[in-house]
């Protein structure tokens, strides 16, 4: 050790080194175990990784083939769209590839789409459906997303866009590189789900709901985000469609979103007027559609989506 060591207690030094060694070993073990659990026991990882791999392969349709549509969104679509039924109802007109990940919003999907395009995905239409609140939220999901949807460049980009400090940025970069760091929140949630009675109901109350900003701010934020998304999609030959899934009390927000989209020259799709959908179509959280509501929404989506997905309107590929 150092020249200034008086080494009062060799055993203490030995156990200090042992403790540091054990800590390093445990960290490696956590990393290995997290990677294993993620790949073999996580439904979310399994679903999103398969959906992502499919999406990367998307190419523009040749004449006579159905239009390729990449549909991305959060739990509003995951719970509200019966993908198999939608595919069935639109099979002649569209080839739909979904990527649905809960608790995601604008920033998650802007950078995820950027990466998808960079990796060669060339859908003709991109449908984004995250709900108005999540579209306007200034946040990014810090588990799954950095690991599965971002690369290093995206992580840095989102950190800069969200004005994260260096600690938060380094945490995001670590979440991109480490399965353990990325999924420790999931691990904690799973344990609490078993340890705390009715944790699933409790967690709905614990999650802060992003609020809708005042109209003027709404238009400024939504407009710039919509324009950025449109430019990103158009530069890769895709048309952007904003899908607004119904949520209770979202009538005014939907109207404002439609106005912002018109200004940004983006198509919006509101298959069901939220005002027309009663509470019985929602789950007990009064946010997500229940199977009955999902059936209704899927049918409406299958009717209106092909009208929005006008092949002729899609920009020409690069």
């Amino acid at each position: 050790m150092p020249s200034s060591t008086s080494s009062s207690e060799p055993r203490a030094l030995f156990y200090s080194k042992l403790l540091v060694g054990i800590s390093a070993l445990l960290i490696v073990l956590f990393e290995f175990l997290s990677g294993y659990l993620l790949k073999h026991h996580s439904e979310t990882y399994d679903r999103v990784s398969h959906q992502y791999a499919e999406a990367v392969k998307m190419q523009p349709a040749t004449p006579g083939q159905p239009t390729s549509v990449l549909m991305v969104g959060n739990s509003l679509l995951l719970e509200g769209v019966d993908v198999n039924r939608l595919k069935e109802l639109t099979s002649g007109q569209m080839h739909i590839c979904p990527i649905f990940l809960e608790a995601t919003g604008y920033y998650d999907w802007f950078y995820a789409l950027q990466r998808l395009f960079r990796e060669g995905a060339r859908p003709q239409v991109v449908v984004l459906g995250v709900g108005v609140n999540s579209f306007l939220a200034n946040s990014v999901r810090e588990d799954y997303v950095p690991l599965m949807l971002f690369d290093m460049r995206d992580s840095l980009g989102v950190a800069s866009a969200l004005k994260m400090d260096r600690t938060a940025t380094s945490n995001l970069l670590l979440a991109h590189s480490s399965a353990f760091w990325d999924t420790r929140t999931v691990l904690r949630t799973q344990i609490l789900r078993h340890a705390v009675p009715h944790y699933r109901e409790l967690v709905l109350l614990l999650k802060p709901q992003p609020s809708i900003p005042p109209p003027e701010q709404f238009q400024t934020i939504a407009n710039s985000r919509l324009e950025r998304l449109r430019e990103l999609c158009e530069s890769h030959g895709a048309k952007l469609v904003i899908l607004v899934p119904p949520t209770p009390s979202s009538v005014d927000a939907v109207r404002q979103m439609t106005m912002a989209a018109q200004r940004a020259r983006v198509d919006t799709l509101v298959p069901i007027d939220p005002a027309a959908l009663s509470v019985k179509y929602y789950q007990s959280d009064e946010l997500h559609l229940n199977p009955e509501g999902a059936k209704l929404f899927t049918t409406a989506l299958a009717t209106f989506l092909p009208r929005s997905v006008d092949h002729e309107q899609a920009a020409s590929p690069n």
Binding site: S3, N171, L205
Partner: protein
């Protein structure tokens, strides 16, 4: 750089390894540069402010020692105190006072006064390093310590990274001699330092961050309109959060200091086992409460001039202590509540008030009386912390107004269960520490046992720390 982030440990490990290979002078310069890097990690621009204020105080201290026959000694001293508090005032309080002034004028019918709000970001740790600089200047002026001849030594005393952002506020008489003398590597203390870091991480990442989820939901209105149960849940959750958060931070700071051969004063001593608010302040944020006692309460006259002036001095001290925590009326009310209760305790229980030592006074009360007093003290603290946590006075009043409504919802049971899950283990640890008078649990157990406990702590961290809430509450002060 937050103490509970991987970035901190990636910084700390090479610093400790390299540090012990250097001689004392090189150690100090290296630590000073490392501390500036640590501080600049937030925002490099704030470094200039801290270095500037350190330099000015270093130079002024050379002129104000009693041994110097400088005719302007007193003026330099006053200049330094005014300068330090002016800098703190501009960065921390200007907008608060200007905004309050404009609000008051607005209510009087005077509108659109051209008083600008400067909206500056608060430099991290400014309250802490300002208090440390003021303590140094006062102690040099009063002849309690010698002015540091080396800028590097003084700079390191102010900016040593384990205490730089959120304390514990180090007394010049305690830390400066440690900076000036060579440090020897003590393996026992090094091991204890590691254990303190593990203890701090558990307090912060497992207890505080999980209680924070509940407190944030209550204070954010996610549970709906306030009622008795929500006040209980919110204030208890926040009380445990702020304790776990700050005592955890202090443990990591003290542990890190020990890895580098320094000793920092104990900052928390089982505060929730206090049976009076007076005792609470001898056990909670001890470095701040003793600073306020020595540099504010006693200079104001302390308890030397009768009950009325004692009460006045206590009230002023606690209101300023509240304001130190943040530029908001909520903190003023928090301090005022403590001032009133402390003055009341002085009046009704004068015998207990004589002790000004941070040590815990002996108890003679019976078991039930003692626990009754502890529970009462905890609840008074919890209610005062409702003001500390709320974003505005109105929000705090709205929350407390629900106390008369006892409507129950089934989700509350899960929330209280979760609160107990994370707070009771810390309470048990506190009982163990109180009985053993140790700094961390099982501190005298064999090394093998403590190593196994630390490994178990790491496992707990892995399983329960993923709440994504890693900002320390006291970093904003």
């Amino acid at each position: 750089m937050l103490f509970d982030s991987p970035a901190y440990f990636l910084f700390l490990i090479p610093v400790v390894l390299l540090y012990w290979r250097l001689n004392q002078r090189a150690q100090n310069i290296f630590l000073l540069l490392a501390s500036y890097f640590f501080y600049g990690w937030w925002d490099w621009r704030f470094l200039a402010l801290m270095i500037g204020s350190t330099t000015v105080d270093y130079l002024i201290a050379q002129k104000i020692a009693p041994s110097r026959a400088d005719p302007h000694r007193r003026q330099w001293f006053i200049f330094s105190i005014v300068l330090n508090f002016t800098i703190l005032g501009i960065f921390k309080y200007f907008d608060f006072f200007a905004g309050s002034f404009l609000g008051a004028l607005d209510r009087l019918g005077i509108h659109n006064l051209p008083l600008p709000l400067i909206r500056i970001i608060l430099p991290p740790g400014i309250s802490f390093y300002t208090f440390q600089e003021v303590a140094y200047i006062v102690d040099v002026y009063k002849g309690r310590i010698e002015a540091s001849r080396s800028f590097f030594d003084y700079g390191l005393f102010i900016s040593l990274f384990p205490h730089l952002i959120a304390g514990p506020i180090q007394r010049p008489g305690h830390l400066l001699p440690q900076v000036q003398k060579p440090r020897t590597f003590d393996a026992d203390r090094f091991f204890d330092g590691l254990m303190l870091i593990f203890s701090g991480l558990i307090r912060k990442c497992v207890v505080a961050d999980n209680c924070a989820v509940l407190a944030n939901a209550v204070f954010g209105g996610q549970f709906g309109p306030s009622n008795f149960w929500l006040v209980l849940l919110g204030t208890y959750a926040f009380t445990w959060q702020v304790y776990g958060d700050f005592s955890g931070y202090s443990d990591i700071a003290r542990g890190t200091a020990q890895l580098l051969g320094f000793h920092f004063m104990v900052n928390f001593r089982q505060p929730f086992l206090s049976n009076r608010l007076q005792e609470f302040w001898r056990r909670w944020h001890i470095s701040l409460s003793t600073w306020l006692r020595d540099y504010l309460y006693i200079p104001l006259g302390g308890s030397a001039h009768g009950q009325w002036k004692t009460a006045r001095n206590l009230f002023i001290t606690m209101v300023l202590a509240g304001l130190w925590h943040g530029a908001n009326w909520t903190f003023v009310i928090f301090g005022a509540i403590h001032g009133v209760v402390l003055a009341g305790e002085r009046y009704f229980f004068p015998a207990r008030s004589k002790s000004t030592q941070p040590d815990v006074p002996p108890r003679s009360a019976g078991f039930l009386t003692l626990w009754g007093q502890r529970i009462l003290t905890f609840n008074i603290l919890g209610l005062s912390l409702a003001f500390f946590r709320a974003t505005s006075l109105r929000a705090a009043v709205q929350l407390l107004a629900g106390l008369s409504n006892f409507a129950w919802r089934s989700e509350y049971a899960s929330a209280f269960f979760m609160l107990c899950l994370f707070s009771i283990p810390l309470f048990v640890v506190d009982l163990l520490l109180e009985a053993s008078n140790h700094e961390y649990p099982f501190a005298t157990s064999p090394y093998a046992v403590r190593t196994a406990l630390a490994a178990a702590a790491l496992l707990m961290l892995a399983l329960f720390s993923g709440s994504n809430l890693n900002a320390f509450v006291y970093f904003q002060f």
